[in-house]
C-alpha cells in the first residue's frame, strides 16, 4: 500500500488520527492513548496492513507532553508506518502495552518506562531495565537534573 491508501485506511479505523505534513521519510500518524490499542490491533491483524515487525519503539519528551513512537514494518506488504501516541498527562503518563501483539515491545517498553517514566498498563513485567530499582527520577526527561553532572557538560 502506498502512503495515501494507508492514510485512508487508518482514518477508517481511527477518524481522529492526525498526520504530519509529508516531510518525513515514512507516514507518521498520531493518535490519543484511548485509540492506541484499537489501531495497533488492526495494524497487526488486518491482512491489507499486517504490520508484523516492530523495528523501533521509543519515547520522546516534548516538555509539554510525552510521546511514544512505534516504527512498524510489514514483511508481507513491504510498507512502513510510524505510529505515535501523544500523552498529555506528563506527571503520570500511562498508555496500554502492545507487547502481546509485538513481543519485542516487552523489552523496549521497559526501557521507555525506565528512562521516561511512561507506564505501560497490563505489561507483564514492568520494572526498570537499565537503572537500579531505587533510582530516583527518569533520566531521559528534559527536566531531569543530574546531580553527578556527567551528561550536562
Amino acid at each position: 500500500m502506498n502512503n495515501d491508501d494507508l492514510k485512508q485506511k487508518i482514518l477508517t479505523i481511527v477518524p481522529s488520527a492526525e498526520f504530519t505534513d509529508p516531510v518525513y521519510e515514512f507516514l507518521n500518524v498520531t493518535v490519543l492513548p484511548a485509540d492506541l490499542r484499537k489501531l495497533a490491533e488492526q495494524f497487526n491483524s488486518d491482512p491489507d496492513l499486517s504490520f508484523d515487525y516492530m523495528f523501533c519503539l521509543t519515547g520522546v519528551d516534548w516538555v509539554t507532553h510525552m510521546m511514544v513512537v512505534y516504527h512498524l514494518y510489514s514483511t508481507k506488504n513491504d510498507h512502513t508506518v510510524v505510529m505515535k501516541v501523544k500523552i498529555d498527562d506528563r506527571e503520570n503518563p500511562e498508555v496500554e502495552t502492545l507487547c502481546d501483539i509485538w513481543k519485542t515491545a516487552e523489552f523496549h517498553e521497559r526501557e521507555v518506562y525506565d528512562l521516561f517514566g511512561i507506564k505501560f498498563l497490563n505489561h507483564p513485567d514492568l520494572r526498570r531495565i537499565f537503572l537500579e530499582d531505587d533510582w530516583v527520577g527518569y533520566p531521559m526527561r528534559k527536566d531531569y537534573v543530574d546531580p553527578v553532572n556527567i551528561v550536562e557538560l
Binding site: Y53, F55, H71, K103, F107, H108, E111, F130, V151
Partner: protein
C-alpha cells in the same frame, strides 16, 4: 530405577549466570529458573554497562555523536559511525562523493569479517575448542592491521565524519586488503573443517535453541540470527545504502532456526563479504574523500531514520532535530537488545550447557545492548 526417578519430587530453583560469567562475553546477568538442569525461564538483568549514550548525544554536536557510537557495538564500530553519518547526511540532503561510498562499503565488510572471525573463535571456545579462538584472532589480526594503517586505530576507528571520511585511505590499503582476502580464502575452509564437521560441535548445536520465523519477526531478531530462522531482513538488500546497490551478493537464508543454522549463516556471510570486497577493491573511484560541510551542522527540523546492517543485525538511528546544533533526541535501535529479548523463548526446555551455545550463536555484545 525409572520408577524411582519419577517419584522423586523436584523443586524449581534459581541460579545466577553472570555478570562475570565467561560465556556472557561481558557484563550480562542472567537469572535462570531451573528444574534440575532444565531451563524453565531466563531473565536477563541489564544495565551493568549502561552509559546513557542517548542522553549524552542530546548535549553533543553531530560530529561528536559519531564518536560515541563506537562505544556501543565495538566490533562493528565503523558501521555504527556510518549509520549516524548517513542519518545526518539524509537530514542535510547531502550527496557524498562516490569514492566515500565505496570505501565505506569496503571497510564495513572488513568490519563484518573481523567481527564474524572473533565470533567464530569465541563460539568455538565456548563449546570447548581453544584452537578456534587462536585461529580466529590470528586471522583477525590482519584486518586490524589494515584498519590501524588507514584509520589510525585498531578497535574504535572513528573513520567516518558527516559528509565523508576523516582522511583518505593509506596507499597500502588496496594491496593489503587483497593480500588478506587471498590469505583468508584458504583459511575459511579450514574453519569449516574444524567445527562444521565436528561431531561434538554438531551434537551441541543441531536442534538447539529453535526460533521460528514468526517469533523472529515478532521479537525483532535480525541479522544472521534472524536470517537463520528464515526472516529475510538484510538491510543491505532491502534498503541499500552506500555502495551496496551496485554489488552482487546473496542474502543468506536458512530455515532451520537452530544454533547450527545461525552458525552456518555467519560462515556463509563471510564468503559474501569477501565477494563484495573483491568487486569493489579495484574499483575505488578517484575524487574527494569528503564532501564540504559546515563546521557547525544544524539539521532542518524533522525526524530522520536510517537503518544499517551491522554484524549483529539491524541498527536503527532515529534523530529528532529542532534546528539546533545538537539533536533534540537520538535513539539507537540496537540489534543486540532485540536479539536478547528472544533468549528466554529460545532457551526454555534446554539445558544450561545449551544456553551457552545459544548465547554464542546470538553473538551478543553487551555495550551494544546497554548503550
Amino acid at each position: 530405577m525409572e520408577e524411582v526417578a519419577q517419584n522423586i519430587e523436584t523443586q524449581e530453583y534459581f541460579i545466577n549466570m553472570g555478570p562475570q560469567h565467561p560465556s556472557t562475553h561481558g557484563v550480562l546477568r542472567l537469572m535462570l529458573t531451573l528444574d534440575g538442569e532444565i531451563i524453565k525461564k531466563v531473565e536477563p538483568h541489564l544495565g551493568f554497562i549502561h552509559r546513557s549514550i542517548e542522553k549524552m548525544c542530546e548535549k553533543d554536536s553531530y560530529q561528536q555523536v559519531v564518536h560515541l557510537t563506537d562505544r556501543m557495538d565495538y566490533l562493528g564500530c565503523h558501521i555504527n559511525n556510518e549509520a549516524v553519518c548517513l542519518t545526518v547526511e539524509k537530514g542535510l540532503e547531502l550527496e557524498v562523493p562516490e569514492r566515500v561510498k565505496v570505501i565505506r562499503t569496503i571497510i564495513s565488510e572488513l568490519t563484518r569479517l573481523s567481527s564474524h572471525q572473533l565470533w567464530w573463535g569465541v563460539m568455538g571456545m565456548d563449546l570447548g575448542a581453544i584452537t578456534t579462538f587462536l585461529y580466529g584472532f590470528r586471522d583477525r589480526e590482519m584486518i586490524t592491521d589494515i584498519f590501524e594503517e588507514t584509520c589510525g586505530a585498531r578497535l574504535t576507528m572513528n573513520y567516518n565524519v558527516p559528509g565523508g571520511l576523516m582522511f583518505d585511505i593509506h596507499p597500502n590499503f588496496q594491496n593489503r586488503t587483497k593480500q588478506f582476502l587471498e590469505h583468508f580464502k584458504k583459511k575459511l575452509p579450514e574453519y569449516d573443517e574444524l567445527l562444521t564437521g565436528n561431531v561434538i560441535f554438531t551434537e551441541r548445536t543441531k536442534g538447539i535453541g529453535y526460533l521460528s520465523k514468526e517469533d523472529a519477526i515478532s521479537y525483532g531478531v535480525t541479522g544472521p540470527s534472524g536470517r537463520a530462522s528464515g526472516f529475510s531482513c538484510d538491510v543491505r538488500k532491502k534498503n541499500p545504502y552506500s555502495a551496496y546497490d551496485r554489488v552482487d551478493f546473496k542474502e543468506i537464508l536458512f530455515m532451520e532456526g537452530d544454533c547450527f543454522a545461525r552458525y552456518q549463516a555467519r560462515i556463509a556471510e563471510m564468503w559474501e563479504s569477501m565477494k563484495i570486497i573483491e568487486q569493489l577493491i579495484d574499483n575505488i573511484p578517484e575524487g574527494e574523500y569528503k564532501a564540504k560541510t559546515k563546521a557547525v551542522i544544524k539539521l532542518p527540523p524533522g525526524e530522520y531514520y536510517q537503518r544499517v546492517e551491522t554484524p549483529r543485525g539491524e541498527l536503527g538511528v532515529y534523530i529528532i532535530s529542532d534546528n539546533k546544533k545538537n539533536p533534540y533526541r537520538v535513539k539507537f535501535r540496537s540489534p543486540g537488545f532485540s536479539n536478547l529479548s528472544a533468549l528466554d523463548k529460545m532457551a526454555r526446555g534446554f539445558k544450561i550447557a545449551d544456553l551457552v551455545a545459544i548465547m554464542s550463536t546470538l553473538d551478543l555484545v553487551i555495550p551494544d545492548i546497554d548503550r
